[in-house]
């Protein structure tokens, strides 16, 4: 049994511990002096492990690449002080946990005196940052989180840098289906915000063309075995099968198509364009041939840009000339840097809303290797749509070619797949 005295001692120890521990957490911080700060502090999170790590780390590399580029040139140009200021990066590891991410975002904002607030990859990990950014009046340079709850009319403190809102992603895909006069469409999607939004968009665009899917079902995001689902889909005799999931869904899905010996006129999945090398390694060359996916940079190329490196230059510098070394996330992370660069380079006042105003002023007049930069009133990205790409077999592997819309296509679609 404990005696009361020790309990009191324990409580005192606890209070002391709390204070010491917290002091330790908040030790490092730099304060901006009056006038120009010594450096621009960028705070961000990445997932060193866990389910988002394979997307988060390449994006983080892209951002770091931009920082090293700028710092090599003496820092980033800040218009408000009319000089270049070196960039300092504070990056914490959230291990793909939203709970951890939440406290670490707060840590960045309250302890690390950051000037620029960049969240982790994807909607799930970005969402906790939205409230914190709003609460502390920090502009959130949202990298790739395109989910619907992130953007609300009242919130001034978010801009989406890299991707269009997920609701408009599948627009060209759905129009392609209509253009090919495909009438039997099967849609299988993950029961999460990101995928469900896309599925709803496809469904409504198809409805405008008078097409009703023969199969339209959601499965839990954690689904990894697709054999039975595919068997049931095949039983509806579809011409086109669309699987809208994460990379961890696309891989077992494409494997199951192969394992089951299924052949459909069109198979489309979301991630081969974004994680091409990864998925081709996982499912093999044959498993990807003639399937469709969203066309994203670096496979859609923007060499005529108003800020930063163009696609080819980026591939040369970042990927040492080999496009296989460059993933979409690399481009996205780098592009986030370019948007920050544009905000600092155009804002007349070095404030969060000053940067926001600058970006809204640039909206529609500004192109990077990620395409046209155009914001809607809530800060969502509505610039370049994601065109439809198809994968064509070559001697060594597959090649991603844009096939629709025809204006931006660099190859004719092969439908039905041979």
């Amino acid at each position: 049994m404990l005696i009361p005295r020790t309990r009191t001692v324990g409580l005192a120890a606890l209070s002391a511990l709390l204070t010491v521990g917290l002091a330790a957490c908040g030790a490092a911080s730099t304060t901006a002096s009056s006038g120009a700060p010594k450096d621009i502090v960028i705070g961000t999170l990445y997932s060193g492990s866990g389910s988002f790590a394979n997307s988060s780390l390449p994006e983080f590399q892209g951002l770091k690449f931009w920082i090293s580029q700028e710092n090599a040139g003496g820092g980033v140009y800040v218009k408000a002080f009319n000089k270049k200021i070196p960039i300092k990066l504070v990056a914490l590891n959230d291990q793909s946990s939203t709970t951890t991410a939440t406290t670490e975002y707060e840590q960045l904002v309250t302890q690390d005196n950051i000037n620029i607030f960049v969240p982790d990859f994807g909607s799930v990990l970005t969402l906790p940052a939205v409230t914190i950014a709003q609460e502390h009046h920090m502009l959130l340079f949202d990298q790739t989180a395109t989910g619907s709850p992130l953007f609300t009319p009242g919130n001034q403190y978010i801009v989406l840098c890299d991707l269009p809102l997920s609701a408009i992603w599948p627009d060209p895909l759905a129009h392609f289906i209509l253009a090919q006069h495909i009438s039997r469409v099967a849609i299988l999607y993950g029961a999460n915000d990101f995928d469900a939004t896309q599925a709803a968009t496809v469904k409504s665009v198809l409805a405008q063309g008078g097409v009703t899917p023969v199969y339209y079902q959601a499965v839990p995001t954690a689904t990894t075995s697709y054999g039975t689902l595919l068997h049931d889909i095949a039983a509806t005799n579809p011409q086109a099968v669309l699987e809208l999931g994460y990379a961890s869904n696309d891989i077992p899905f494409l494997q199951a198509v192969q394992q089951g010996g299924y052949h459909f006129g069109m198979v489309a999945t979301a991630f081969p364009g974004q994680e091409f090398t990864l998925i081709e390694n996982a499912v093999g060359k044959a498993g990807l041939s003639y399937t469709y996916t969203y066309g994203v940079p670096p496979y859609i190329k923007f060499n005529n840009v108003s800020e930063g490196l163009g696609t080819n230059a980026f591939i040369a510098k970042f990927g040492h000339g080999n496009i296989a070394n460059v993933s979409f996330e690399n481009v996205a992370g780098y592009n986030t840097g370019l948007i920050i660069q544009a905000a600092l380079g155009h804002a007349t006042k070095f404030t969060q809303l000053g940067m926001r105003a600058a970006l809204f002023a640039l909206s529609g007049h500004f192109t990077t290797l990620d395409g046209a930069f155009k914001l809607n009133s809530e800060g969502g990205q509505v610039g370049e749509l994601l065109p439809l790409a198809q994968l064509f077999p070559t001697a060594t592997g597959n090649e991603i070619k844009i096939v629709y819309p025809s204006a931006s296509a660099d190859h004719a679609p092969v439908y039905p797949a041979p």
Binding site: V219, H231, S248, Q259, G284, G287
Partner: protein, 292 residues
């Protein structure tokens, strides 16, 4: 004939799930330790198969045999370095749970350092892309291979447990550890061996996971541990046969909901587990425990 395919797929997946859970049940039965790192061992088995295939072209079925010796070694070391000490603590069931949570974190972190975060996989063409016909249904060859390996493992384990002296001693410890010590069984030796077998079975399941659940990543361990746990609890703790029955129930629940209500396919297996637990509190083949 959607139901027939669901039935076949459910049984085949059930054998795979049974195999994936078997080692966990053995370790729990013999040592009363909850190996929360079980799913991470499955993950490591998957990576072993991918690396051997990528670098040396080793067929995954060969890897199934290759992983056994190192697994036994790892099991021995884990038991003697970590397990034995925890087993002697006040509450081995719960303390082992916490410790193996730590081990699971370490394995995941080391796997990330060693293999990166990307999904690793072997193209499913290894086992052919032409489905086999069973009762008029086209079933992927890889499923049959996995289920076959699961069955072989089950038979071998059965022979070991019921036909050999060491196996009998293992069951004796499961039945009553003190009694077993009192007839001269060295529980450390049996426990270490069992830990090795448990790790080996998990690693083998990991190799098959590549073809059943598509690829492996360092972070998949937790989900696999949870599934394995559901399966052994369904079948009955300490009952190897029950584990396979539990696996099949789990597999059928998953496949039938995938067929008739895909959106509920996450919900159904757990709901069925709950219902079975309430009807038969010791699992399908668990022995009725005399308790208050």
């Amino acid at each position: 004939m959607l139901w027939l395919f669901a039935l076949i797929a459910g049984v085949l997946f059930g054998l795979y799930y049974g195999l994936a859970a078997l080692g966990l049940n053995l370790i729990f039965g013999v040592m009363r330790m909850v190996n929360l790192a079980h799913g991470d061992v499955i993950m490591l088995g998957g990576f072993a198969a991918v690396l051997l295939f990528d670098h040396f072209g080793v067929n995954p079925l060969i890897t199934v045999l290759l992983v056994i010796p190192p697994s036994l070694l790892v099991g021995y070391l884990t038991y003697y370095l970590l397990g034995r000490r925890v087993q002697r603590s006040r509450d081995p069931e719960m303390m082992s749970l916490v410790m193996f949570f730590g081990v699971s974190q370490v394995i995941e972190a080391v796997a990330v350092i060693a293999f990166g975060n990307n999904e690793a996989s072997i193209t499913s063409a290894v086992f052919g892309t032409r489905p086999f016909s069973i009762a008029g249904q086209g079933v992927p060859g890889a499923w049959l291979v996995s289920a076959g390996v699961g069955l072989v493992a089950l038979v071998l384990l059965f022979l070991y447990l019921y036909r050999t002296s060491l196996g009998r001693a293992t069951r004796a410890i499961m039945s009553s550890p003190d009694e077993a010590r009192a007839v001269g069984v060295n529980p450390d030796r049996i426990s270490a061996l069992t830990f090795g077998i448990g790790v080996g079975l998990a690693a083998i399941a990991g190799i098959l996971s590549l073809f059943m659940i598509g690829g492996t990543t360092p972070s998949e361990g937790v989900d696999l541990t949870v599934t394995a746990f559901a399966v052994i609890v369904l079948g009955g703790l300490g009952s190897p046969m029950g584990t396979f029955l539990g696996g099949i129930v789990f597999g059928l629940a998953l496949m039938f909901t995938q067929t008739y209500a895909p959106v509920w396919s996450g919900f159904a297996p757990f709901a069925i587990l709950l219902v079975i637990m309430l009807l038969r509190p010791t699992g399908l083949l668990g022995r009725t425990v005399r308790s208050v």
